[in-house]
Amino acid sequence: MSRINLNDLDPSFKHRVAEQPGGQGIKACFACKACTAACPITAVDARYDPRKIIRMALLGMTEEILHSDFIWLCSSCYGCQEVCPQNVSFTEVMFAIKNLAAAEACVPPGLTGQRLLLKAHGRLYEISDFENEKREKMGLPRIKEHPEDYDALLG
C-alpha cells in the first residue's frame, strides 16, 4: 500500500460523522483496542476491525472508508460499544458512517432492495392471501399491509 499523506486527508470527516445521530462519540476514542477484542466479526474476517475503522475515520480517510466493502460487515451486536471505556457507541458510529456512504450511493444492492420492499409493502415480506390463509389455519389473525404510510415516510 502506498504511503498516506496526512496533509491530503480530510480532517473534517470525523466532525461530519459526529454530527450524524449516534455518531457523536467517535472522537472520544483513545484506541485502547477493547472494541476489537470484543468484536465477533474481526475474529472471522480481518477486514473488519472497529478500532482501525475509527482510526481511518478520525484521520479523515474518507474515500477509502466510504467506498469500502468492510464497513457493511458490522453485525450490530453492540459488543464493541459495551466494552468501550470512553462511551464511544461504536455500533451507532458505524451506522453513521454507513449512512454517509449511502448518501454517496455506495451501498450493497441488498440494502436498497429492502428499502424498495418497505415502500411497496410496509414490511420486508409481502403479505399475500396465501400467508393470511396459512395464519388463519393456525388460528392467527390476519395481517394488513400499509404501503401508503411507508411510501409517504420514505419519500
Binding site: A28, F30, C32, K33, A34, C35, T36, A37, A38, C39, T42, A43, A46, D49, R51, G79, E82, V83, C84, P85, Q86, N87
Partner: protein, 413 residues
C-alpha cells in the same frame, strides 16, 4: 474536649498531618472509624527486591512510630464524626467513640473468635501485631443484632461487647479531612470475571497475601507461572464516571511483578496497559528494564472468562491484530482509586462539595477547601500514591498551621 486540629482518618495522610502539626506545637486528635490505624496501607507489603522499590508502604510504620511517641497527638479508633458546626473559633463537633471491643492485653490472637463470627471481615487480625480487632461497623451486635458468638468463644475473656459507645463533644480550631479512598469495586465490571472466574484477584488482595506471608506459587502442575496484570480497572473509564488516571496502578503493578519475579524467578508477568505512567524520578530510563521484567501489551482486554482448563483466560486483541484468548495461572486486576465511601456524609457534615472527579474538596492539588479552617489531605481529594499522600498531608498541615497561627493572633488582639 479541645484540640487545635481534628483529623478525620488515621491513614498515612491523616497520621502524617497530625505529626507535622505536632511538630509545629499544635495538638491533634485523630478520629478513625476502623479499629486499627493505617488505612489501606496497613495491608500493603514491602515491595523491595533486594533493593527498595520506593513503594512508600514503610512510611506508614515510620509515622506510626512518630505518632506513638508524641504526647500532642490523641488517636481515637473505632470513632466517627457525627455532627459538626462551624463557630467563630473553629468547629464544634460531636464524635461517636466506641471503646475497643477486644482488650489487646488479653487477646493472644488465637482466632477462636473469627472461627465463630458469622460476618466475614468483622473480626480480623491487626496488621501490626497478631491480636484480633473487631470492626464495629460490620459486627452484627453493633448493627442492631444480638450475636455474641465471639464473646462466648473467647477463652481469655478478651471480648467486651457491653461497654457503651460514647458521644464526645470536641471543639477544634481546624479540621483536616483525610478520610482516604475506596478501591474500585471490580464487581462493577463483571466482564473482568472478578468473583466469578477462579484465579482473578485484585492487586491489593495479592499485596495483603504477600504482606502476611500467605502467597506461594504452589507446586507441580498447578504452580503459578503466568500472571497477567490488567491496568486501568476502574480508571480512565468515562463509562463508569471515572475518567481520571488513578496515578498509582502502573507503579503498583510493575513493582508487584518485579517482587514476584525476584522471589520466584520462573514467574512470567504480563501487563495489559494503555500508557505506562512514570512512578519514579528516573522511571523513563528504566522503562526498558520494565519491559524485560514483564511482557508489556498495549491492549485492553474485552473479557476475562474461565477457560476450558479452568484457568482464567484473557480475551484481547493480540499483536497480530487477532482476537486472542490467552490462559493465565493468575489474573491480577489493578483496581483504581475511587472516591471514599463516607464522602457524601463528610460533604453534608462540613458543608463542602465534591470535585469534578467525585473526590472531596477542590480540583487540582490544593489542600484548602471552600470552608475556612477545613483542609483536605491525601487520597480523599484525588488519587495519590503513598509518597504523594504524605507530601500532600505535609502541605495540608502547613496550611492548617498557618490558619491556626492566624486564629491565635486574632484571639490575642
Amino acid at each position: 474536649m479541645e484540640t487545635d486540629a481534628l483529623i478525620v482518618g488515621a491513614g498515612v495522610a491523616g497520621l502524617w498531618s497530625a505529626w507535622e502539626l505536632a511538630l509545629h506545637g499544635a495538638t491533634a486528635t485523630i478520629v478513625e472509624a476502623a479499629p486499627y490505624p493505617g488505612g489501606h496501607v496497613a495491608r500493603f507489603c514491602c515491595k523491595a527486591t533486594g533493593r527498595c522499590q520506593k513503594c512508600g508502604a514503610c512510611l506508614l510504620e515510620d509515622v506510626l512510630r512518630k505518632v506513638r511517641g508524641s504526647d500532642r497527638i490523641t488517636t481515637l479508633l473505632g470513632s466517627t464524626v457525627l455532627e459538626a458546626s462551624d463557630t467563630d473559633r473553629g468547629f464544634d463537633l460531636t464524635l461517636l467513640c466506641r471503646p475497643p471491643r477486644i482488650f489487646p492485653d488479653r487477646c493472644d490472637g488465637c482466632g477462636a473468635c473469627t472461627d465463630v463470627c458469622p460476618v466475614p471481615g468483622a473480626l480480623v487480625q491487626s496488621p501490626f501485631d497478631r491480636r484480633m480487632v473487631l470492626d464495629q461497623q460490620r459486627c452484627l451486635r453493633f448493627q442492631g443484632g444480638e450475636c455474641r458468638a465471639c464473646e462466648e468463644a473467647c477463652t481469655r475473656g478478651a471480648v467486651n461487647l457491653d461497654m457503651p459507645a460514647q458521644k464526645i463533644p470536641v471543639s477544634a480550631s481546624a479540621v483536616v479531612l483525610a478520610a482516604g479512598f475506596r478501591p474500585f469495586d471490580p464487581l462493577e465490571k463483571p466482564r473482568l470475571g472478578y468473583g466469578r472466574v477462579p484465579g482473578v484477584v485484585t492487586a491489593a488482595e495479592l499485596d495483603e497475601l504477600i504482606r502476611t506471608d500467605k502467597w506461594f506459587p504452589g507446586a507441580g502442575a498447578s504452580r503459578t507461572r503466568s500472571v497477567a496484570f490488567i491496568q486501568c480497572v476502574g480508571s480512565r473509564d468515562a463509562k463508569i464516571g471515572r475518567n481520571y488516571c488513578s496515578r498509582v496502578c502502573c507503579g503498583y503493578a510493575l513493582r508487584l511483578a518485579r517482587l514476584l519475579r525476584s522471589r520466584y524467578p520462573d514467574i512470567e508477568p504480563t501487563m495489559f496497559y494503555m500508557d505506562i505512567q512514570s512512578f519514579e524520578r528516573d522511571f523513563e530510563a528504566r522503562l526498558g528494564e520494565a519491559a524485560r521484567e514483564a511482557r508489556l501489551i498495549r491492549s485492553m482486554p474485552a473479557e476475562i472468562r474461565t477457560g476450558s482448563d479452568g484457568r482464567p483466560e484473557v480475551v484481547y486483541e493480540g499483536m497480530d491484530e487477532k482476537r486472542v484468548a490467552e490462559p493465565y495461572d493468575m489474573v491480577v486486576l489493578s483496581v483504581g482509586i475511587s472516591p471514599g465511601q463516607s464522602l457524601g456524609n463528610l460533604c453534608s457534615t462540613f458543608g463542602i462539595d465534591l470535585n469534578s472527579d467525585g473526590f472531596l474538596g477542590p480540583d487540582g492539588e490544593a489542600v484548602t477547601t471552600s470552608q475556612d479552617g477545613l483542609f483536605v489531605a491525601g487520597a480523599v481529594q484525588a488519587p495519590r500514591s503513598i509518597e504523594d499522600s504524605v507530601s500532600h498531608a505535609i502541605k495540608a498541615a502547613a496550611a492548617a498551621d498557618r490558619y491556626l497561627r492566624r486564629m491565635a493572633n486574632r484571639e490575642k488582639q
